[in-house]
Amino acid sequence: MSVFLEMGGYGGFIWPCYILTLGGMVWIAVSSWRRAKAAAARLAELGMEKG
């Protein structure tokens, strides 16, 4: 396991790339989904037909 994490001595460069990329993707996906959900709920609340 530690050999895998070390990545041939480059783990300190490789893992931050994956953490930042996947973290950024999760963040923008969740925030966009929540925004869409909140807007759809508000629209439904106002009595407008969805879509």
């Binding site: 490789i14 790339c17 993707m25 996906a29 925004r35 879509g51």
Partner: protein, 244 residues
């Protein structure tokens, strides 16, 4: 097809149908890409394990460039046909593309330090990618710089179009100038120059992350369309109350 989708109601209906299956497909492709990229593919004979950075860096760079092309096309559609959906698509793409341009620069720096001995060099490819990020930020700022969203739409569309000139510079900078950044390995005249063991995770990550980009843009467009309808409803209610 374009006429069909240009109707916001039809777009919303289609988007609701597509988001869930596309999300599953995107997640599966990315998970497979991570498996091959981190576990099943070998280290490079020169770069060692740092080659694994390529599996996130290259898709991010492609998305930053292609996202900008799509944003510029939306800008053109908005300027010529004044279609509100083109404006919404432009606004939806800008932050997502900006994030991928930023990730391209950061992951590139994390690869550059062990391989070149420097986090940053004023190389033509790196500099043109930085300019692309600045264009994204400027489009976002301009689109939101006015009291009403509609007033910022045309200036943002024009700026998105102007920035398109930088995209071929990003792509061909490695051919036009003597750069430290390596030349293209996928889209080049002599064919793909990557070993299949490394090409597999790269293609999986490219496919998964491009689908991801489309899904997030669709979600943001859904949100913006609903927000505009809410705003229109508020204005109608206020006008009705004022008239009563």
């Amino acid at each position: 097809m374009f006429d069909y989708l240009a109707n916001p109601t039809r777009f919303m209906r289609l988007a609701r149908l597509l988001v869930a299956p596309l999300s599953v497909l995107s997640a599966l492709l990315i998970l497979a890409g991570l498996y091959y990229g981190l576990l099943a593919s070998p280290p490079d004979y020169q770069q060692g394990d740092t080659v694994r950075i390529m599996y996130v860096h290259v898709p991010a760079a492609w998305l930053a460039s292609l996202g900008y092309v799509a944003m510029g096309a939306c800008g053109l559609f908005y300027i010529v046909w004044r279609h509100p959906l083109a404006d919404i698509a432009l606004r939806a793409m800008a932050p997502v593309g900006a994030m991928f341009a930023f990730l391209t620069l950061v992951t590139g720096a994390l690869w550059g330090k062990p391989m070149w001995g420097a986090w940053w060099v004023w190389d033509a490819r790196l500099t043109s990618m930085l300019i692309l990020l600045f264009f994204y930020v400027a489009v976002i700022a301009l689109a939101n710089a006015f009291d009403t969203a509609e007033r910022g739409s045309r200036p943002a569309a024009i700026l998105a179009l102007v920035g398109l000139i930088n995209v071929p510079i990003v792509k061909f900078s490695v051919d036009w100038w003597n750069t430290l950044h390596q030349p293209a390995s996928l889209l080049r005249s002599g064919g793909v120059s990557i070993d299949p063991a490394m090409l597999t995770p790269l293609l999986l990550m490219l496919a998964g992350m491009h689908l991801f980009f489309a899904i997030v843009v669709i979600l943001r467009m859904q949100a913006m369309l609903a927000e505009r309808r809410i705003a229109a409803l508020h204005i109608r209610n206020m006008a009705r109350e004022g008239g009563a």
